[in-house]
Symmetry: C2
Subunit: 355 residues, 2 copies
């Protein structure tokens, strides 16, 4: 009869009894309410320590209505860009005593919906979404529950949701400028998956920048790399088969850039001498691939920081700025060794080290 499955974990009541105070006092002590007598508090802490008590967050959440959990939805944890963000997000969350419920959707609409549903059921206090493509109905549910929301990159223009807008145009313009100044004219673009809004935004930025420079983008010079290494591989294979091969290719993210570099290498095309490559995201590894990859950088730390604070501002309504704010994140070109001036087509094969 006394033999339950588990020994039944320690209660706030056990602490109260042991410290000879009421449970309310224990609760107040734990929550650092100032009105509790220092002597009593000391007794409580002592009891907590001696007995090895851990408060039950679930019970806490149930009554307080705040779970101190933020959901974080990313498309693909396997793409090194996102772990960087997750890490930064976690670091700041810990500081503020928040927990993260992470989910990697693989760009799958259905999994994303499941994830959001689970997050609601777990009573998250808010969710940051890095991947767009969400059903109206789900969004309505979220909205109906007044769930604090922040969309990173490209979100829907809804009244109360915050957005972090990444200013692609800046970095892309710098990149095109850089390439153009090195006499590149035939510049290809390896885009992301077409259903991903942030990918199409990057593509658009590229097209605009090219137009600004008066450069043409012939048909077939924009091809999807699906934001994966394999995608990059396939994309460049396609590009390389053209009669008029591009002298430079910009990629919608770094891992697909790694893919095109690799395919170029396989085909005996030297980067950067025969082909300039520019990535996007500036993942940590970009600096260390061979040759080091020139990339368009956006700060993962800053992105995470903005997202977290947007959420926080929304849940603690007191602090500014209000929900529905737009935040902006700039991008910039960081030059490394994967680009070079365009060469005369008929030149002899290059020597060895590109740097």
């Amino acid at each position: 009869m006394k033999n339950r499955k588990k020994e039944k974990a320690l209660d706030i009541r056990d602490i109260a009894k042991h410290a000879k105070v009421s449970i309310a006092t224990v609760s107040r002590t734990i929550n650092h309410v100032s009105t509790v007598d220092p002597d009593l508090a000391k007794r409580v802490w002592k009891a907590i320590d001696e007995l090895g008590y851990y408060p039950n967050t679930q019970a806490r959440t149930l009554v307080s209505g705040k779970s101190r959990i933020f959901g974080l939805v990313i498309p693909d944890i396997t793409n090194p860009f996102f772990p960087g963000i997750v890490q930064a997000f976690e670091e700041i969350a810990i500081q503020y005593d928040y927990e993260i419920l992470l989910t990697s959707t693989g760009n799958d609409q259905h999994r994303m919906e499941k994830a959001i549903r689970r997050m609601i059921e777990r009573q998250v206090d808010g969710v940051a979404i890095m991947t767009f493509g969400m059903e109206e109905e789900l969004l309505e549910h979220l909205h109906f529950r007044k769930m604090p929301l922040v969309f990173i990159d490209v979100g829907p223009p809804l009244p109360l949701v915050s957005n972090i807008r990444i200013q692609y145009q800046i970095g892309v313009r710098q990149a095109v400028q850089h390439l153009a100044s090195h006499h590149h004219r035939r510049i290809a673009f390896v885009s992301g998956p077409p259903e991903l809004k942030s990918a199409t935004a990057r593509t658009l930025a590229f097209q605009n920048a090219m137009a600004e420079k008066g450069l043409e983008v012939p048909d077939g010079m924009i091809v999807s790399g699906h934001h994966t290494v394999e995608g990059g591989l396939a994309a460049f294979e396609q590009l390389a088969a053209r009669t008029e091969r591009p002298t430079a290719v910009m990629c919608s993210n770094d891992v697909s850039a790694i893919g095109v570099m690799r395919k170029a290498y396989e085909l005996g095309i030297q980067v950067p001498d025969d082909l300039s490559v520019i990535g996007f995201d500036d993942i940590h590894l970009a600096e260390f691939v061979i040759p080091p990859l020139t990339s368009i950088r956006m700060s993962q730390t800053e992105l995470a920081r903005l997202a977290f604070h947007a959420l926080l501002a929304d849940v603690e309504r007191t602090s500014l700025p209000p929900a529905g704010t737009e935040y902006f994140l700039t991008t910039e070109l960081v030059l490394r060794k994967s680009t070079a001036p365009v060469r005369k087509p008929a030149a002899e094969p290059s020597k060895t080290h590109p740097f």
Copy 2:
């Protein structure tokens, strides 16, 4: 007076009222208890759907005592090996309706303890730990609460905790054999952080394999790469400065191998012609770096699967195997292009493409 902060989310009571049944029936319906009348169940589901009800997991957990959350502790999410595991773990967790509380400790003892504490407070049903170095006291708390535990790689030999033992010796032996058959004698090892048990286990496996082959490992031929690119960089710089430079280097993980390849490149040392490099982990990217990295593979999917099932077996005591089981995961060498036969030291510089 009626104006609460939020509209107060839907209740199980609202559903009961709307479907004209008792809350017990609603609960039973949701939990698929077979005894509920199909007609009533239909009414309940209809109400749930119409009203857009999401059950409150926190309340559920509170009474049932099961949170359906597993903690997952990894050392560094920034190292691509771990995202692979996280992804596999998440996939299988979702299948079983479990949630993951992920934490990346950065090999920091203190952060790890905090993480574990938070996990206990969140009432996780078990935790998988991929990084060892834990205070006795914390372990005792865990043990005291009968928390299901699985250590991945190198865990403490405790009665009721499961362990997944990775059989390094196999892959390492293959690697040394491979190198030896290509006439390498001076083989260096870039190890991981010395405080990481799994890193020292790999180092030990290397030493044993070398001894088996009758190969010497002179002082200074084992140097720490800290399992990071930067560490690999520094490690090889040190190695390259030796009068007797190694002709091959094995690394305790892939990212440090990427570091040594990069440093070699900087120094004008060709991989694989002048230097053979073998990594460890076989991350996805290993196949795509230049040259493709030969590595010692262990299946991330399998690792995650084993860990999850170990935990699951422990929480649902019915199913075998029991808690405290040891699982084994093999490793194997996967050959790519970063190794080659040792060359005569005085040979001329290599041509260009290694493959």
